[in-house]
């Protein structure tokens, strides 16, 4: 049962991500992305990381993607009639590159001496929190500064009047 759910979710995550490649309308793409993100959240949960799973939903699906949709709605993008999705000029090289990337990553993953099944251990929010605010405190502070910088940048960029 557990395995079935895991692989099904993985397929959904990958399928939804693949759909973004071919859909025409950004809002539909965003929906597929949300589906992929939610599936990924479930994967996190199944792997035994409930905190990251919850944060994934709250942060990505709940905040970032809403922001995405908001921008799309403000821009009011409409699909330009019923045209087929044309492959952009010069698609061959990137496609080749992506294929090569897939191969190389597959080699990396399957070459690694990591076979064998996992023991399922759930690492709860308490452990993660203690790790974050203990060992990785400096990184947390730096991340806070980064977020502050982003905040300032956005405020600056979105000023009404510019000289």
């Amino acid at each position: 049962m557990y395995k079935l759910i895991f692989y099904l979710t993985a397929v959904i995550a990958i399928g939804a991500a693949g759909a973004i490649l071919i859909v025409r309308h950004p809002v539909h793409a965003a929906l597929y992305l949300i589906a992929s993100l939610l599936a990924l959240a479930l994967l996190f949960f199944l792997l035994g990381a409930p905190l990251v799973a919850a944060l994934q939903v709250i942060l990505y699906a709940g905040a970032i993607m809403v922001l995405f949709l908001f921008v799309m709605m403000v821009m009011d993008l409409r699909p330009a009639s019923n045209e087929r999705l044309a492959l952009p000029k010069g698609w061959r090289v990137p496609t080749l590159l992506v294929a090569a990337l897939a191969v190389e990553l597959a080699v990396v993953v399957f070459q690694a001496p990591l076979s064998g099944d996992e023991i399922w251990v759930s690492v709860g929010p308490k452990a993660v929190g203690q790790s974050l605010f203990g060992t990785y405190l400096i990184a947390v502070e730096v991340a806070a500064i980064l977020l502050l910088a982003a905040l300032v940048a956005v405020l600056y960029l979105s000023r009404r009047s510019r000289p």
Binding site: V93, P94, L97, V98, L101, V108, Q111, L137, I138, E141
Partner: protein
């Protein structure tokens, strides 16, 4: 008492925050008094610390651990030992008086909120610097002070000259700050801690890195304290309001370097060469500052150069191992220099913003009180024997310098500086206050209380602080140095009769300097200027030198790169090459019809053209193409790692 230690920097800090965040809600008339109260609480806490036994036993308080990572635990903690107590007393006391003075001085000014915000923050930064119990927190205060001084010097930022002065101060001190930061990194790498308590016992061993670190700390101190060769920002810093000049020059920023060296003196003792350099730079700066002050016409610039020169005395003392004397001079200097600046500011204010000493003399706007105060300050600066604080502190340094290596030379320079000091400050006093002609402006009314009280208080201090430390061998008490003995080693003095001779000589120097000022002023009134007037007035042309050494080469390199490398080499070279081949090919086609040669050349030309097109295509501005390049690079690296060496 320990639990209230945080209040010393905390009160101005909270004051600054309140002014910044809620200052708009306060009635404008209350704002200055609010800032004063914040500074006042700090000063009161210091007074309470004196009464509460800080003078005997160091007080400590650790507010919290900033970060705790693998045994490194930089704390936000304060230590109030005797060295810090001296600094804190000077900084908070003089700072408070200057705040009070500002109330009346700045009352017509717009944007007082910004002014008081930075003043309070400045005070807080300086107090953090002085009280910090580790180098990281000290550096935090150090940078806070630097930032605020930039903002305050450029307070009237709408005037481009004044804004540039602020920028200059910021840029020049930044050189020193960087050096200090590197020194801190080195210390951390070596010892894994930055706490003074742990660091300095460790530093007393034999450590070959000491020279480098001490040198870097020295550069840091040079930047903040405006010593040669980083002194150029200070004279320009006069662009700020007068109370700011007083705050920066007297009590706070410039003394930060002196404090830093005094605090880290065990390191300097490990590196005697560097310590002697401190003294050498000190004496050079003394003569430099004094000679430049001699030729200035702007009253505040005279005082600025005089500060440069006086800090030189402190460095000299530090370099000779007379730390207590350096601090003593720091304290007396804070009193009389603040007094001079505040009375000069009052004078300028009542003369409607006039800075030129000659015209100030013609206007004769100063009242009796201001004249008296300026006279006291000038006398103390010139070290008039027996009455003034400056005499006691400066002479002690001079005698202590004699025993240092090459002490005679150091003494000679310092004594020359003492002579010049008397000349330049009394030149100003005589020009400004003693005109025989009928004055144009009559002094008006009494001084406002917030101006008069700090002036008179500082005048009293300038006369009396000296009695804390009587000259060596005079039989008077040595309250100051014996009190500091537990933390800072005593200065060495030459044997008895040499000391006597030296003391007499330096007292003579001061009096001689004042005497020399009279003919000088008479000469100037007659319209004759000094020899080398312009050389001295421009501060030995240091600005021009730096412009030529650093600024211009930088500009020139940049524009040369743009012109020669970008346009000349890459653009013109490649274009010319292609065009040349075209011309050659066309010429060959017309002239010589060698089949193979022509084909070969055409091939080359077409190849070049294709290559050009392909290279241009990498700069087509298309994000996707750039992404493709990045991916290719990543793939290549990954592939290299995976498949190389084959089968690995």
């Amino acid at each position: 008492m320990s639990t209230w230690l945080w209040l010393i920097p905390g009160s101005p800090f909270v004051g600054a925050l309140t002014i910044a965040l809620l200052g708009g809600r306060l009635p404008a008339a209350r704002l200055p008094w609010f800032a004063c109260a914040a500074a006042g609480i700090s000063a009161l806490t210091v007074a309470a610390a004196w009464l509460g036994g800080a003078a005997q036993e160091p007080l400590r308080q650790t507010l919290y651990i900033w970060l705790a990572v693998d045994g490194w635990q930089p704390s936000v903690g304060f230590t109030l030992d005797r060295l810090a107590l001296v600094m804190v007393t000077v900084v908070s006391g003089v700072g408070f008086l200057i705040h009070v003075y500002s109330v009346a001085f700045m009352d017509k000014e717009a944007e007082q909120r910004r002014y008081y915000f930075y003043m309070n923050l400045f005070l807080a930064g300086m107090l953090v610097l002085v009280l910090a119990d580790n180098l990281l927190l000290l550096y935090f205060g150090w940078e806070m002070v630097g930032l605020c001084s930039f903002a305050l010097i450029g307070f009237w930022y709408r005037d481009p000259v004044k804004a540039a002065a602020g920028r200059k101060a910021f840029t020049v001190t930044r050189i020193g700050d960087t050096a200090l930061a590197i020194a801190i990194f080195l210390l951390f790498v070596q010892f894994g801690t930055l706490s003074f308590d742990v660091l300095f016992p460790l530093g007393e061993g034999d450590w070959e890195g000491a020279t480098a670190v001490a040198l870097l700390i020295l550069v840091g101190a040079l930047g903040k304290s405006a010593q040669l060769p980083l002194q150029v920002w200070l004279p320009d810093a006069m662009a700020g309001p007068s109370p700011v000049s007083a705050l920066i020059h007297a009590a706070t920023m410039v003394t930060a370097g002196v404090y830093l060296i005094a605090r880290t003196h065990p390191l300097f003792e490990l590196a005697p060469g560097v310590q002697w350099t401190v003294a050498a730079i000190g004496v050079l700066t003394i003569v430099y500052g004094a000679s430049c002050a001699l030729a200035q016409h702007d009253i505040k610039r005279v005082l600025a150069y005089s500060t440069v020169s006086q800090i030189g005395y402190m460095f000299l003392a530090l370099g000779c191992g007379a730390y207590a004397l350096a601090l003593f001079h720091l304290a007396t200097h804070a009193c009389f220099k603040a007094l001079l600046f505040l009375s000069a500011g009052t004078l300028i204010h009542s003369a409607g913003g006039e800075h030129h000493i000659g015209r100030l003399g013609e206007l004769n706007a100063g009242s009796r009180t201001v004249q008296l105060c300026f006279l006291v300050g000038a006398a103390s600066l010139a070290a008039v024997p027996f009455f003034t604080a400056g005499f006691y502190s400066k002479d002690a340094i001079l005698t202590a310098a004699w025993v240092a290596p090459v002490g005679g030379l150091l003494w000679l320079f310092a004594a020359l500086g003492a002579l010049l000091t008397g000349v330049y400050i009394f030149r100003v006093y005589l020009t400004v206050f003693h005109r025989s002609a009928e004055p144009l402006l009559r002094p008006r009314g009494r001084l406002p209380t917030p101006i008069a009280v700090p002036l008179l208080l500082l005048a009293a201090l300038s006369l009396s602080v000296g009695f804390l430390e009587f000259p060596e061998g005079s039989g008077g008490p040595h309250t100051w140095s014996t009190w500091l003995e537990s933390e800072l080693d005593l200065a060495k003095h030459p044997e008895h009769h040499t000391t006597r001779v030296l003391q007499a000589l330096s007292a003579l120097m001061a009096v001689a300097g004042i005497a020399l000022a009279f003919p000088l002023v008479r000469r100037e009134r007659a319209g004759k200027s000094l020899p080398w007037q312009s050389f001295l007035q421009t501060g030995w042309r240091f600005d021009a030198l730096y412009a030529r050494l650093f600024v211009q080469p930088y500009h020139r390199t940049a524009s040369a790169l743009a012109r020669w490398v970008e346009q000349g080499l890459i653009e013109a070279g490649l274009n010319g090459l292609t065009r040349g081949f075209w011309v050659m090919a066309a010429g060959l086609r017309r002239g010589v019809e060698f089949g193979s040669v022509e084909r070969g050349l055409t091939f080359l030309v077409v190849g070049l053209q294709r290559g050009h097109a392909m290279l241009s295509a990498t700069q087509n501005g298309l994000l996707s193409r750039y992404a493709v390049s990045v991916t290719t690079g990543t793939l290549a690296l990954l592939g290299f790692w995976l498949f190389w060496p084959w089968g690995g």
